[in-house]
Symmetry: C2
Subunit: 193 residues, 2 copies
């Protein structure tokens, strides 16, 4: 393993354990076993390395979520919503480190241009992919408004539940409860309470 890879791994560790801005170049060097000056040599600056680490972890999280949803969808059509929510909600507490890292990345969106651009593009693809998975259609055909809105809603649910899992993991609903709540919500659309 090259010192370059060590540095990325160390930066990820620091990102989770100390947060984006509290992490110093010396922290990364210590966590990675690499030399302080290697940061500049390999990445140009500490911030460039931290951005890379944050974006990679954000990507890894997206990958894990996609896998969870995919595996739930593979469990067959009956009660698919309940199953997908079940697996998602059960998985989130296990992904705490990745979610912490993703939160750090979100917090930099407004202040680091390369993070903003990459994350915006990643969120677009995530919504497309989620819509395709949930609707069971080809990702390329997910251009219709309905499909795009579905992607947005599922994306919002994932991110929102992830935030809640960070704040209050014990209060997360079960998949069945969440599915019921969604049905209640949707059912209220045509009439009274």
């Amino acid at each position: 393993m090259s010192q370059r890879d060590d540095l990325i791994a160390g930066a990820k560790k620091c990102l989770v354990e100390k947060g984006y801005s509290r992490t110093t170049a010396r922290d990364i060097a210590a966590a990675s076993g690499a030399h302080l000056a290697s940061i500049g040599y390999h990445f140009g600056s500490k911030d460039a390395l931290m951005n890379l680490a944050a974006l990679q972890m954000q990507d890894e999280w997206g990958e894990m979520i996609a896998e969870v949803v995919r595996s739930a969808e593979a469990d067959g059509p009956p009660h698919r919503l309940r199953i997908a929510l079940d697996e998602l909600l059960a998985a989130l507490p296990r992904q705490r480190e990745l979610i912490v890292a993703a939160t750090q990345a979100y917090a930099q969106v407004e202040f680091a241009d390369d993070i903003r651009g990459t994350m915006t593009e990643a969120s677009r693809e995530a919504r497309r992919e989620l819509a395709a998975l949930v609707l069971g259609i080809d990702p390329a055909r997910a251009g219709a408004d309905t499909a795009r809105a579905t992607g947005s809603v599922v994306y919002a649910l994932v991110v929102g539940f992830a935030v809640q899992s960070l704040l209050d993991p014990d209060s997360l609903p079960t998949g069945a409860q969440a599915a019921d709540a969604l049905r209640t919500l949707a059912g209220r659309s045509g009439g009274g309470a």
Copy 2:
């Protein structure tokens, strides 16, 4: 207006414009017109002031969301879901500053104990209140599992759409589209695609 209040206002400005950790004590002094040393006198430390500012803005955001949902619910029962989502989705881009601040607060949850505690409690109350508003019931009676799950789902939608409004405001669905997507999602719960 006391220097103490000026400092809080300056800290909020910096929180939005520079982010939590990039803000220095001197930034706050400059933004508030107050003296550098007053931070220590009034708040003990720069971090204490930043935490206070972040929590206050997080609160203000919650208040705005509650108002939006409340006003939507007041527009009468027919198509309530569509209306509520419409107002929410239209309001988010206008709340960008508060959402940026809230994001900064979320990012500190893992690393600042007082932020974590306050935000956890705030999220509990927010979910309770959202459930009560959406279900049209007394907040005190929102203890049932179904109500709690509904609060979680609505909370997740709010936070998730807020994040999306930060990353990609132009891709937010309309309320009607989101309502359709929710119905599609909920409708898929019993059978195939």
